[in-house]
C-alpha cells in the first residue's frame, strides 16, 4: 500500500504541472489575469511540495512572498494596464510549433541526463528545514550574500520609485 506522503506527492506534482500548463497555454482564455491566478495556484502547490520535502520555512515564505506580495503586484499592474484588445490576440501557429520543437528538444536532453545519472537513495533523508538552523546558516556562512541582497532590495526600491515618476525623461 502506498504511503500518504507518496500519494500527496503525486497530487501536488499533478496540480503544479496542470496549473503551470494553464499559465502558459490556457486553451480557454488568453487573459493575463487568468494566467496570473493559475500561477498563484502553481505557487501554492509548489509550497505543498516544499512541505513534503520538510522545508517548512520556505513553504511559508513561498506563500508569503510569492503568492502574497509578488503576484498581487502582478495583478495590480495587469489590471492597471488592462486593455480589452489585448485579450483577443491568439497565439501564433508558427511560433507555437517552433516553440514546441525547441522546448521538446531541451526537455528530452534534460530527462535523458536525468535517466543516465544515478542517485544513491539508500540513506533516508533526515534533514529538517526548520527555521533556526536556516537562520543560523544565513547569519554565519552566508552573511555577506545576505547583506548584499539587502542592498539589492534597496537598489530595486530606489529604481522602482525613480521609474514610476510621471515626468521621467
Amino acid at each position: 500500500m502506498a504511503q500518504l506522503p507518496d500519494i500527496l506527492f503525486y497530487v501536488f506534482a499533478f496540480l503544479t504541472l496542470a496549473c503551470g500548463f494553464l499559465v502558459v497555454l490556457n486553451p480557454f482564455s488568453t487573459n493575463p489575469v487568468t494566467s496570473a491566478m493559475f500561477l498563484v495556484l502553481t505557487i501554492g502547490s509548489l509550497a505543498g511540495l516544499f512541505v513534503l520535502l520538510h522545508a517548512f520555512f520556505l513553504a511559508a515564505v513561498q506563500i508569503l512572498v510569492y503568492a502574497g506580495a509578488v503576484m498581487v503586484l502582478f495583478l495590480f499592474v495587469i489590471m492597471l494596464l488592462d486593455l480589452p484588445a489585448e485579450e483577443r490576440r491568439k497565439v501564433k501557429k508558427a511560433g507555437l510549433v517552433l516553440g514546441l520543437i525547441s522546448v521538446g528538444a531541451i526537455l528530452t536532453i534534460m530527462l535523458q541526463s536525468l535517466l543516465q545519472s544515478s542517485f544513491s537513495s539508500e540513506a533516508a533523508p533526515t534533514l529538517e528545514g526548520s527555521t533556526i538552523p536556516l537562520g543560523r546558516l544565513l547569519f554565519t556562512q552566508y552573511l555577506l550574500p545576505f547583506e548584499i541582497i539587502s542592498v539589492l532590495l534597496l537598489v530595486a526600491m530606489v529604481g522602482v520609485i525613480l521609474l514610476s515618476k510621471k515626468d521621467l525623461k
Binding site: L4, V33, T34, M37, V40, F56, F57, A59, A60, V61, I63, L64, A67, G68, A69, V72, L73, L75, F76, M79, L80, S130, T131
Partner: protein, 349 residues
Amino acid sequence: MTWIDQLTPLAQFALFSAIKIICVFSVLMFIVAYAVWVERKVSAAIQDRHGPNRVGIFGLLQPAADAVKAFLKEDFTPGHVRKVYFWLAPAIVMIPSLLTVAIIPFGSRLGAQKMVIADLNVGILYTFGIVSLGVYGIVLAGYAANSKYPFLGGIRSTAQMISYEIAMGMSVIPIFLLVGSLNLGQVIEYQTGNVFHWLIFKQPLAFGIFLAAMFAETNRLPFDLPESEQELAGGYNVEYSSIKFALFFMGEYAAMTAASAMMVTLFLGGWTLPIAGLDQPAQTIGIGLLQIGVFLAKMLFVEFMVIWVRWMWPRFRYDQLMDLGWRRFIPLALANIVATAVVLWGVAK
C-alpha cells in the same frame, strides 16, 4: 471508549482533527452570525435607537431571518461582468479567515487532545502567508465587476492591505525575539504566570501597531477605504446581490473574528488566566472547557471593541492612511525591533 483506542494512530488523528474542524467551524459561523447582530445593537445603542427588535426577543433571531432573506432573494448577475471571476470572488473571500483559525490554540487540552487543529512550528509565518492571500477575493471582485467604482475599491484594497501587512509583520517580530519560537503554543506558554507577562504589557508599541494594522487588514472603519459608501458607492461589492453579497459580508466578520483570535493569542495570553491555576495545561475536562471559555471571552471582548470603534471614529482619508502606514508605523515597528534586540542582547551579556 475502547473502539477509539483500537484505531490506528493515523485514523485517530483524522477522527479527532475532523471533530475539531467541525466544532471550530460551527462556533466561528455562530460568532459571525451574532457579530452582525451585536454590531447592529451596539450601533443602535450608540446612536440612541432600538436596533433589530422584531424577530424573537431582543431581535435574537435576526441572523436567521437575514440568512433566509439572503438565500431567497434573486441571485442577479449583471450582463457586463466577467462571469468566472464574478462567481469565484465571493468564495475566495471566506477561505483565508477559515484557514487562519486552524493554527490558533483555543484551549489547552481535553483529555489527551491538544485544543488546536494544526500545531505548526512556523505558525506565525503561516498566518501571515494566509492573511496575505486575503486580498485576492477583494481584488478579483473589483476586477470581475468590470465597472469603475468596484475597480477603484479593488485597487485601493490591494495597496492598503499590502502596506499594512508589512507593518503588521514587523510589529510581531519583537514578540518572537522574546519568545524565541514561531509556534503559537509557545507564545502562550511564555505569557503564563503573571498578568504582566502578557505581551500587551511587555510590548505595548507592538500591540498598538498590530491593532491598527488589524483594522486596516480587515477593512474595518476607520480604514474601510475599499468599501467607503459615500465615495465608491460601496466599493468592490457594488454589483453583488443576495447570497453572494452575504458571503462578502460574512467574510468580513470571519476575518474580524480570526484577527481577534490572533490578537488574543499574541498579546492577551490566549486561553490562560493568571489566577486559580488556569495558566497550566488542564488535567480535567472541566478545566479544559473553562479555558476554552476564557479564550472565547477574551476574543469576544476584542471583537466588541472593534465593533465599538467603528461607530465612534470617522474614516481616514486615503493619503492619511498611506502616510500612517508607511511613514509612522513601519519606522516605529523597525525601531521597536532594534530596541527589543538591544535589550535582549544586554540581558544576555
